[in-house]
Amino acid sequence: MEFLDNLILGAQVAFTWQNVFYCFVGVLLGTLIGVLPGIGPVPTIAMLLPITFNLDPVAALIMLSGIYYGTQYGGSTTAILVNLPGEAASVVTVLDGHQMARQGRAGPALAIAAIGSFVAGCVATLVIATAAPPLAEFALKFGPWEYFSLMVLGLVAATVLAHGSLLKAIAMVVLGLLLGLIGTDVNSGVLRYTFDIPELADGIGFVLVAMGMFGVTEIVTNLEQGAKREVFLGKVKHLFPSMEDLKRSWAPILRGTALGSVLGILPGGGALLSSFAAYTVEKKWSKHPEQFGKGAIEGVAGPESANNAGAQTSFIPMLTLGIPGNPVMALMIGALMIQGIAPGPQVMTDKPELFWGLIASMWLGNAMLVILNLPLIGIWIKLLTVPYRYLFPSILVFMSVGVFAYSNNPWDCLIMAVFGVFGYLCVKLECEPAPLILGFILGPLMEEHLRRAMLLSRGDATVFFNPVEKPISFSFLVAALLLIAVIALPNIRKKREQVFVEET
């Protein structure tokens, strides 16, 4: 009954009035940001990170994760009502969700999205609770070889799952790894690539890179497109879906949940990939695929469940291995480190209240989100009518507050601007920022593990590939090689490009 004891411990932590409050603030802010198009969860969490410095670790993590899955709910509202994704993971919801709204069925679309997300959230929470502890126990046996190989696998998977050219994605990872090395080398104390600038001695803050490449760049690209929006301003009537809707939706919800739960665990997976995959699956399985894109409720139910499930299970590698699968999880790791907690498999045994409290709060947060999103839909619709010309200066100010609060040094604003320009260049050259961010986070860690591994094996690099001595490391590297090989096959490469092109 250890499982039950753990859940009770988690509930005791999560249901204190203070943590309920931070959970509520998190999901509320998340919904708000998710509803507003043009700003995703990464800059939001990055700019709110300094606010959590004064909170205790449990409350900070509860709030930040509330923001993350809150954005998944909010993003779908915008997708259905405005024909614009509130954030990237709801891109596919636009296809059928907005068509439903045009046919006067915005209510059922919103309701199914919320119900699907809730079911997915509950299931994914259980998945985390059951899968994480054994995984963490397994990971406790890892030495530097296993960690290094695991990171290689993680980075390879992240590039495979990023869209666009595979070669460019790998190059972005390597560039990220290199940028992550800037600062003081922990082993020798040598200042690397700091060019005698004292602010660079501690390296470039990850938050600044994320806010520059995701926040600043996003605002600039939105401005150049000239935000034209088709807002659905009618009243949302008949919130409740019909029996027919429910009958058509329950299977896609379950399939989406399963798919999202699995894909979320993969590095580079998470919400975005899950929703794309779920849409493709639903279209394939449907008896009437011709309805897709014309308001098929399955096209809302599947992806919406999948993106929420994926958002939640992406916590698993972060909590058990200390390795971020996506940029949001990288920010969570940053939050943990700021709180003085070294991320890794020992978190679960050293800080069970943090781990189980977070899990219990996820269930609570999902329940709050249903309430926030369905009865209060009118408020979010109002929010959507706020023109972008008021929004983006406000977002800019909030981003600046977040960056400045980081260390009270204008230098940080400069670095954010530099990465904003760089991110814009990357957008123009079709290079994905997400792989770079993952590389940036993992760079110093990888070097550290590589050094330790090489020292212990006396400079013999073949140990990594030795199936007898290091079977786990060997299998990680084989998996990474297989992934690259599979993707490089012309047939699959075409398929992969299609999956990402078809829906966008």
Partner: protein, 156 residues
């Protein structure tokens, strides 16, 4: 010479450039040492070399493949948005929260498609009050509220 896919070509040039720089700088400034005891230069040289190679591959493939042109750069919003962020950071110490916030809003708003004095002023005012109440009062972030030339700031 014909470049089939300019987007990929320039991306490749960027990667190769970064790779070459990281390798060259590391070789001239940091010790490589050996694989057993890696010096500070070892990992950067390996990674930089890999990046250089990847960049070259991207360039090579871009010559043969067909791809879209690089879309036009919109410098106006880019420069103004960056300036707004910089203004906020660099005006905070001398000017205080109100000046920094207002400057960021006005400069940022210039990046948009329409600029209406009245509206922007209202947005700036709302954000100054909101920032003061939420960030300074509520979250106790140590931001100076008044400009630094005022010795005894009446608003704390």
């Amino acid at each position: 010479m014909r470049i089939g896919s300019p987007k990929d070509f320039w991306a490749g040039v960027m990667f190769a450039g970064f790779g070459a720089f990281f390798v060259a700088w590391s070789l001239t400034h940091y010790a490589m040492e050996s694989a057993v005891r890696m010096g500070p230069g070892y990992f950067p040289v390996v990674l930089g070399g890999l990046l250089l190679l990847l960049g070259a591959l991207v360039i090579f493939r871009s010559l043969a493949a067909d791809g879209p042109r690089v879309a036009r750069f919109h410098f106006r919003p880019l420069v103004l948005v960056c300036l707004a962020v910089l203004a906020y950071g660099y005006l905070m110490q001398p000017g205080g929260l109100a000046v920094a916030t207002a400057a960021a809003v006005f400069i940022g708003a210039l990046a948009g498609h329409e600029f209406r004095w009245k509206e922007v002023s209202v947005v700036a005012l709302v954000l100054v009050v909101f920032s003061y109440l939420v960030f300074v009062k509520g979250l106790t972030l140590p931001f100076p509220v008044c400009p630094s030339f005022i010795d005894n700031c009446p608003i704390r």
